[in-house]
């Protein structure tokens, strides 16, 4: 600051190297501390932050690039993403993205807030434990024992999509536990290929999946950017 009377003019004699003031170790220091996440903590009871799995649902404008924006956000901010599914809703121009993320509580909070900032994102919600969730898996196994494969498929209420002399492909749907169990059960036949969709989910009962979400009906998209000529007229 030029207000320092000591430092204004040429010829100012400064004694000793550097600047005035006590050295770092001679200064008073508080003992408190924050953890690596910026939370002030009691060092005695410090615990490692715990990761948990969260299912996040985002209602988005179904416009070009929305998926790359969402996935770009995840890679840029280094969120741990397990799966991502996307599909249209009953509202024209809307889509729902369901994300399964494994993060700390603070991380999940960030995921939701950062998602909510993206322009095409209309609403974001986190689903609780009793939400309805499902995943689809396609499994291709060796066709040496078709009867046994069929039995297992039935056990998991699956469907045979293709049966040839060398391979059998089946489809199983259900929650994650059921899918994991089914995959284990099919291992005995030698799994050749596998394709899983990742979880998709809806809140149970009357609760909307994202806050304030209206029951599905067709309306015009709100967004002005990608509307067609008929929409443009009423502006």
């Amino acid at each position: 600051m030029s207000g320092d009377e000591s430092a204004d003019a040429p010829g100012y004699e400064f004694d000793g190297p550097g600047m005035p003031g006590p050295a770092p170790d001679e200064r008073p220091h508080p003992d408190g501390r924050r953890n690596a996440h910026g939370v002030r903590i009691d060092p005695e009871v410090e615990a490692e932050p715990r990761y948990r799995t969260a299912v996040v649902s985002a209602l988005v404008e179904h416009e070009p690039g929305v998926l790359s924006r969402v996935s770009g956000l995840f890679s840029r901010r280094q969120f741990n993403i397990e799966s991502l599914t996307v599909g249209k809703t009953t509202v024209d121009g809307h889509a729902r993205i369901t994300l399964v993320v494994e993060e700390t509580d603070a991380g999940i909070d960030q995921v939701k807030k950062q998602l909510g900032k993206l322009k095409p994102v209309i609403q974001v919600g986190e689903l609780d434990g009793d939400a309805v969730r499902a995943e689809l898996v396609l499994l291709k196994v060796r066709g040496d024992e078709p009867d046994k494969v069929h039995a297992i498929t039935q056990m998991y209420e699956g469907e045979t999509l293709d049966a040839g002399p060398r391979t059998i492909t089946v489809q199983i749907t259900g929650d994650q536990q059921k899918i994991d169990d089914a995959v284990d059960a099919f291992r005995q036949f030698g799994i050749i290929e596998i394709a899983r969709t990742g979880q998709t989910a809806l809140a149970r009962g009357d609760t909307p999946t994202t806050p304030g979400e209206e029951p599905g009906h067709s309306t015009e998209p709100k967004n002005s950017t990608y509307r067609d000529e008929t929409d443009a007229e009423d502006n």
Partner: protein, 586 residues
């Protein structure tokens, strides 16, 4: 207009038309609707470079009153637009053609994004029929800029392109500001349309808060009332929300000391006794002591950048944190907020003013802060003759110019000295590259700032390395006859790197020496500007006088002490309270 209309109506209409849009030619193409959208948004100046894919837009600008400034390089256009926006408080506008034009904007867009500066970038694009074919000068501009814009648009419809541009402009300024981009394929801008775009309005999916929820304000107010060592931390958001008046009043009315972040320099007058200047890596010792010892930190509009906090584990270790921000995602992102308050800084500071009944009892704390000011003043040594000390140059420039002078900088030691030794008393007078730390920001920023505030003095404090990165923009300053002064603190080093090499790499000065620097005074003259050099205190005084008196762009090459370093310094990731005052304390 119908011939059946009465004379009176005709006259009225003509009058109104002459007053409001007398020179406006009708919208005939996508390009002219883009330009109309800019006019509707109140855009008066735009910065850019011509090119194949953007030519339709430039052709439409031919009929507009918008002042287009042709820059020497698109990076210059982006920085100039950014600074123009910072000084004016509206989004600045820059234009570029597709491919290399658009990629040259990228650094400037990323810079604006990191500093939350409102800016609109318009880029030409190859015709949409050729998009995806690796056509001549094709780049996936929306793909490239997605991570560094608030939002970007690919405009595929001539009828709506004007509204899209209006929306992008409004979105850039809304809530937490930031850059937006509209990619304009040539077929969209060439296509015929007579659709007049409406007024610029933000998209409906975005609704930033203004007032905060009153419960959160009340709880924070109670925390402020009972604090014994309260500290206000003003961030760039205070300036962006035009909340400096409310912020200052809140500090003064409640007797709470203030530290700022670098982007918020000038939000609190630095000569005010409550102001402890800015905290962080090269911030003042007293600001960093206050941050380390406060028991309540009220942060307004700041994102707790690591250059401010040092290691978060040692940041404000004793403090509870009130965090006010319009962007909810900033709350508890880096530092946990005990009292989150989501809202616009201006609105929330008004709410605070109403809700805080009793000012905290902080007399002792204020005294303690004054003591730190005396204990750790910003100081430097000035030998009799030469070499010149850079800090002296900054102080001398400050003294020779009016209070509302705008200072722009490059990035490096000179930037820190400018921030430390210039006494800023007004908001929007410090224009620098903070979050991205972009060398070369200073000169184009000075051009943007001068166009935004033609009546104010503009001084660019630059480093030799930074200046060389965008020196070609001097040609623009000369062409536009801009009265700006570039003060190059020439140490023939990329000094900040040299300082770190000396401190942390055993003095192995790999690639940090610039002993092949051109003669900046001569170079200035070659561009058509005035050039001065100074290597001692007398020459410095003369050069400053001469440069400021010259009515046009001038460059002063200050040959400063090449060994001078920036102190205080908090080691990267270190504790704010452990700032070093000289190299042997690092």
């Amino acid at each position: 207009m119908s011939e059946q209309q009465t004379a009176a109506t005709t006259d009225e209409t003509t009058d109104a038309a002459t007053e409001t849009d007398g020179k406006r030619t009708p919208v005939t193409t996508g390009a002219s609707s883009v330009v109309r959208a800019l006019e509707n948004a109140g855009v008066e100046a735009a910065f850019g470079v011509q090119g194949g894919a953007i030519m339709p837009i430039y052709d439409a600008l031919y009929d507009s009153d918008i002042h287009h400034v042709t820059m020497a390089h698109e990076q210059g256009a982006a920085h100039a637009a950014d600074a123009y926006g910072v000084v004016r408080g509206d989004p600045g506008v820059c234009l570029a053609t597709s491919g290399p034009g658009a990629t040259n904007l990228v650094t400037g867009i990323a810079d604006a994004d990191m500093d939350s500066d409102a800016m609109l970038a318009l880029t030409g694009q190859v015709p949409s029929t050729m998009v995806g074919s690796d056509a001549f000068q094709e780049t996936d501009t929306t793909g490239v800029t997605a991570p560094i814009t608030k939002h970007n648009y690919f405009a595929s419809d001539a009828d709506t392109v004007g509204d899209t541009v209006g929306e992008a402009f409004a979105l850039a300024a809304e809530g937490r500001p930031g850059p937006t981009l509209v990619d304009l394929p040539k077929d969209t801008t060439m296509a015929e349309t007579d659709r007049e775009p409406g007024p610029a309005k933000p998209p409906e999916t975005t609704t930033p808060p203004t007032d905060a929820e009153i419960e959160s304000v009340k709880t924070a107010a109670r925390a402020i009332e009972r604090a014994e060592k309260p500290l206000l931390l003003f961030g760039g958001g205070v300036v962006k929300a035009n909340a400096t008046e409310e912020a200052r009043a809140f500090a003064v009315d409640n007797g709470i000391p203030v530290v700022t972040t670098m982007p918020a320099i000038g939000s609190m007058p630095e000569d005010h006794e409550l102001c402890l200047s800015w905290a962080g890596m090269h911030g003042t010792g007293y600001a960093n002591m206050a941050v380390t010892h406060c028991d309540l930190l009220v942060a307004v509009g700041c994102r707790f950048d690591d250059r401010l906090t040092g290691g978060v584990d040692t940041f404000a270790p004793e403090a509870e944190v009130v965090h006010v921000d319009v962007d909810e995602a900033e709350i508890s992102k880096n530092v946990h907020a005990d009292y989150p308050v989501v809202g616009d800084a201006k609105a929330v500071l008004e709410q605070f003013a109403d809700e805080v009944g009793q000012s905290p009892d902080a007399r002792e704390w204020r005294q303690q802060c004054q003591t730190w000011k005396e204990e750790y003043p910003l100081a430097y040594e000035t030998p009799e003759d030469k070499p010149l000390k850079p800090q002296f140059v900054v102080e001398a420039l400050d003294e020779a110019t009016p209070d509302d002078t705008i200072v722009t900088t490059g990035v490096g030691q000179h930037q820190m000295w400018a921030a430390q030794f210039w006494t800023f008393t007004n908001p929007r007078t410090w224009v620098s590259s903070h979050g991205l730390g972009t060398m070369g920001y200073g000169l184009p920023a000075a051009i943007g700032a001068k166009l935004a505030a033609p009546d104010r003095d503009v001084v660019c404090v630059d480093g030799d390395g930074s200046f060389l990165m965008t020196i070609q923009e001097l040609s623009v300053a000369v062409r536009e006859e801009l009265d700006i002064t570039v003060a190059v603190l020439n140490n023939e080093y990329i000094g900040m790197v040299r300082q770190w090499q000396d401190a942390f790499f055993d003095g192995r000065r790999m690639a940090a020496e610039y002993d092949w620097c051109p003669d900046f005074a001569k170079l200035a003259e070659a561009f058509g500007a005035r050039g001065f050099s100074a290597e001692n205190y007398d020459e410095a005084a003369d050069a400053i006088e001469g440069a400021l008196a010259y009515n046009g762009p001038s460059v002063i090459d200050f040959r400063i002490d090449p060994t001078e370093n920036v102190y205080p310094m908090v080691a990267s990731g270190g504790a704010n309270g452990k700032f070093a005052l000289s190299e042997d304390q690092l």
